[in-house]
């Protein structure tokens, strides 16, 4: 510990990090790059959320109030693409950049230059994507799932969409390679795989998923591109292709993708709950194996998004059963988290609050997922707001709350200052109440028969849409607290010591707050590891 400090302090005086704009544009430092990722993600969350607000605005009451249906479809499509590829995935990579080297006793990410590349691709990718709003024909409006033949009717935005997806894919793949190599090659001596914190574990498995499926997405959109411009017929029956073939390839990517979005959240919850229960995680190894089996299963369930396309009976049965199986390892995780709180000594700081909300609301989203897996029932649910309710429960109070928990957990470590706990608690309560007002009624709407992706609806859906919209505006406005809180913390938070939380364990807490420019300039001593490492 001490030696680390003595190493770090002189360093900061004469470190060679570039200054001014170069520090960021040329950066090869995991913390600076992590910060850029997080800022970028936050920006995209607000843009994607802005689109969502417009969606809720148009859906506030029946009749078209504000937008042409085509533009509404663009809003839906861009909302999803921006949230998934612009907000959540970069947020995860940002957290990985910040935390993984610190948690493994490493000086930095394994491939620092590559790290810079994988971030700096993103701003350009999203310039292309969001720029498509301003070209003839408007932004893509075929849904984030980009099904042909519809997506082939996109105007000038079409190639922009495809190339943007290529760039995002490249960025994620490079980022994932970096994470894997860092975890496999940069662990301090003494930190065996089964002594790694669960955030590192879940990210490792996420990275494998990324490398396996992002190239498949790239392939799929490449086929779209050639079908559109170069006369191939992958997705045209007349030429011997099949529009549904795209759906299979897309969902082979798409389903693992949704676990890419949730697994790191599992990791964070598995760090936060033990900390604030002052009790080690229950069944650490089972957690690891459960995560691995979820990842494995995620490769053989994809067609549960396509039950209505007319698959052979055997295929439908197989995908129903494999999908239902995922409930088992996920359940194991939920139970282990609960058992971690059992006979603990709980306190309810903001990270814990978000983790607890995650526990309840993700589970609800999981239940509705399970209902969707029942093929005959899915014939009624598919492409209704019941699905929209399902995936927002797992994505917003699931993934987004997971990210919130992580940021509120580690922010003091990053800045060396404690944020306004009271305000953060407000942020939590407002978010949690409004997110349910926003998305719970969508279950009713879906069951009552309201299709998704429509700008206008029959009058009997009015009441619950109004409730949902009001919840949406409430949730949206509450999110404004978040950047304000961070800004306030960076400016004038109360300085804190190495260990921000009483019950916190892990190597990151053995470093000073804020940590030195290069996290572990010399590997942590065995004593430090014994105190810090997960096991």
């Amino acid at each position: 510990m001490a030696e680390v400090l003595t190493h770090a302090e002189p360093h900061d005086e004469h470190d060679h990090k570039p200054h001014g704009w170069r520090r960021w544009v040329y950066s090869t430092n995991h913390k600076d790059i992590g910060t850029m990722y997080l800022v970028f993600a936050c920006l995209m969350f607000f843009i994607g959320g802005g689109a969502a607000m417009l969606i809720r605005l148009e859906l506030f009451k029946p009749g078209l109030q504000f937008f042409d249906p085509q533009f509404f479809n663009s809003l839906t499509t861009m909302h999803a693409l921006i949230m998934i590829f612009g907000a959540i995935m970069p947020a995860w990579t940002g957290l990985a950049n910040w935390m993984i080297p610190m948690q493994l006793g490493a000086p930095d990410m394994a491939l620092p230059r590559l790290n810079n590349l994988s971030f700096w691709i993103l701003p350009f990718a999203f310039t292309l994507l969001i720029g498509s709003f301003f070209v003839p024909g408007g932004a893509p409006a075929g849904g984030w799932t980009m099904y042909p033949p519809l997506i082939l009717q996109t105007g000038a935005a079409f190639p922009m969409l495809i190339f943007a997806v290529h760039l995002m894919g490249a960025s994620s793949i490079l980022g994932a390679i970096n994470v894997i190599v860092t975890i496999m090659n940069m662990r301090a001596p003494g930190i065996s795989l089964l002594r790694m914190p669960l955030f590192v574990w879940t990210w490792l498995i996420t990275a494998y998923l990324l490398i396996a499926v992002m190239p498949v997405l790239a392939g799929a959109v490449t086929m779209l591109l050639t079908d559109h411009f170069f006369g191939t017929t992958f997705f045209t029956a007349a030429g011997g292709g099949d529009p549904v073939m795209f759906q299979h390839i897309f969902w082979f990517f798409g389903h693992p993708e949704v676990y890419i979005l949730i697994l790191p959240a599992f990791g964070i919850v598995s760090e936060v709950i033990p900390t604030f229960s002052r009790k080690p995680l229950f069944g650490y190894e089972t957690m690891v194996y459960a995560t691995a089996s979820i990842a494995f299963l995620s490769f053989i369930v994809w067609a549960h998004h396509m039950f209505t396309v007319g698959m052979p009976l055997a295929a439908q049965l197989f995908f129903m059963l494999s999908t239902m199986l995922i409930a088992v390892p996920t359940g194991v995780k939920v139970f282990n988290w609960t058992a971690t709180m059992w006979k603990g000594s709980l306190s309810f700081e903001p990270p814990m609050l978000f983790a607890l909300a995650f526990l309840f609301l993700f589970t609800i989203g999981g239940f509705s997922g399970l209902m969707l897996a029942i093929v005959p029932a899915d014939y009624q649910y598919q492409d209704t707001y019941f699905v929209v309710a399902h995936f927002h429960y797992v994505l917003v109070p699931g993934t987004i709350f997971g990210i919130m928990a992580g940021v509120y957990y580690w922010l003091p470590k990053w800045t060396g200052r404690m944020y306004d706990l009271k305000l953060a608690t407000w942020h939590f309560w407002l978010s949690t109440i409004f997110v349910n007002v926003l998305f719970f009624p969508q279950h009713f709407l879906g069951l009552a028969g309201m299709p998704r992706r429509i700008p206008d609806y029959a009058v009997q859906f009015t009441d619950w849409n109004m409730v949902s919209s009001l919840g949406g505006f409430g949730f949206g406005l509450s999110q404004l607290l978040f950047p304000y809180l961070i800004w306030k913390c960076v400016r004038g938070g109360v300085p804190i010591g190495n260990r921000a939380w009483e019950g916190a364990h892990g190597l990151e807490w053995e470093l000073p707050s804020p940590p030195p420019f290069h996290s572990w300039t010399t590997p942590p001593s065995d004593a430090v590891i014994a105190r810090g490492a997960a096991h």
């Binding site: 029956a237 007319g310 029959a458 009441d463």
Partner: protein, 299 residues
């Protein structure tokens, strides 16, 4: 059925605040899946309720334990952590096995129903349904009757951006068409669903039928409406199909067998007259093909 009453109660509770202000035909009490008017749609409804209740039960247990821990193991109440509770193979095995059993309990009836749904034999009437941007085409293959079905003009006028027409004033806003799809009750009707341009999806909640209309391919679906349930049933396109995806509803006009037969006869006559020579064979040709190679006993 007592369970359904309970179900409604639960939903209603979730909506209690709202329900206070609810008036008769308002949407506040539109909370659950329809039971529909076919055997299959009821099966699906019961499946849905069964899974729902299982999930509620699991939820009660899991959330119960969570809440119990949150209430009883607070630091503020001087709870001291028992750091020895970190692993317990026995319970971990239990809470792996039990969910598996629950899943089996869910899967078996689901599979049964699915097999029923997939059985498209012994159908008595075959209609080709083609989705296009943005409407539906119904083609009674065996009878040379074919017509299009689009959003009715009242809704169409009202749905224009800032039309100034209050949707509430339009009856069945967005759920009404110019020419409903006429079918007989108590008859196993087979739909051959396909798409003309992009993918659409023919969804009629009351029948528990949703099938994608895929250009270049034909999907099969079927329904058999209860004998005592003639009437109008409404659904919508359920696959994003472009600008007016929200504006291509489906209306089925279910009539008694006799009325249907009469309607079909008269419609066929009309169309024979209207049809220019050459048009009729066009619709007949595929029918011929179907007849000689059809793998099902024709009525």
């Amino acid at each position: 059925m007592i369970r359904e009453k309970l179900a409604h109660l639960v939903f209603a509770l979730a909506a209690s605040v709202a329900t206070l202000t609810a008036h008769a035909e308002s949407g506040w009490n539109q909370l659950n899946m329809t039971q529909g008017v076919t055997h299959i749609s009821r099966e699906i409804y019961h499946l849905h309720m069964r899974i729902f209740w299982i999930c509620v039960a699991i939820g009660v247990v899991v959330f119960g334990v969570m809440i119990w821990s949150i209430v009883n193991y607070r630091k503020s109440k001087g709870a001291v952590p028992d750091v020895t509770v970190v692993h317990n193979t026995k319970v971990e095995i239990i809470w792996t096995i039990v969910p598996v059993i629950i899943l089996v309990v869910m899967a078996v009836p689901a599979a049964k129903t699915l097999v029923e749904i997939e059985d498209t034999t012994k159908t008595e009437l075959t209609v080709k349904v083609t989705g296009f941007q943005w409407g539906w085409q119904y083609d009674y293959l065996d009878d040379g009757v074919m017509y299009f079905s689009r959003l009715d003009h009242h809704s169409d006028a009202a749905r224009e951006l800032l039309s100034g027409i209050d949707p509430e004033s339009v009856e069945h806003y967005l759920l009404n068409v110019d020419h409903p799809f006429v079918v007989p009750v108590d008859t196993k009707v087979r739909l051959l669903v396909t798409g003309a341009d992009v993918i659409h999806s023919w969804w009629l909640p009351a029948f528990g039928v949703k099938k994608d209309a895929i250009p270049g391919f034909v999907n099969e679906a079927w329904f058999k409406i209860d004998k005592d349930k003639p009437g109008l049933y409404r659904g919508q396109c359920a696959e994003l199909c472009g600008r007016d995806h929200g504006f291509m509803p489906i209306v089925v006009d279910a009539r008694s067998k006799e009325d249907f037969a009469a309607w079909l006869k008269q419609k066929a006559a009309e169309q024979k007259q209207a049809a220019a020579p050459g048009a009729a064979p066009a619709t007949a040709a595929p029918t011929a093909a179907t007849e000689e190679r059809a793998p099902w006993p024709k009525s």
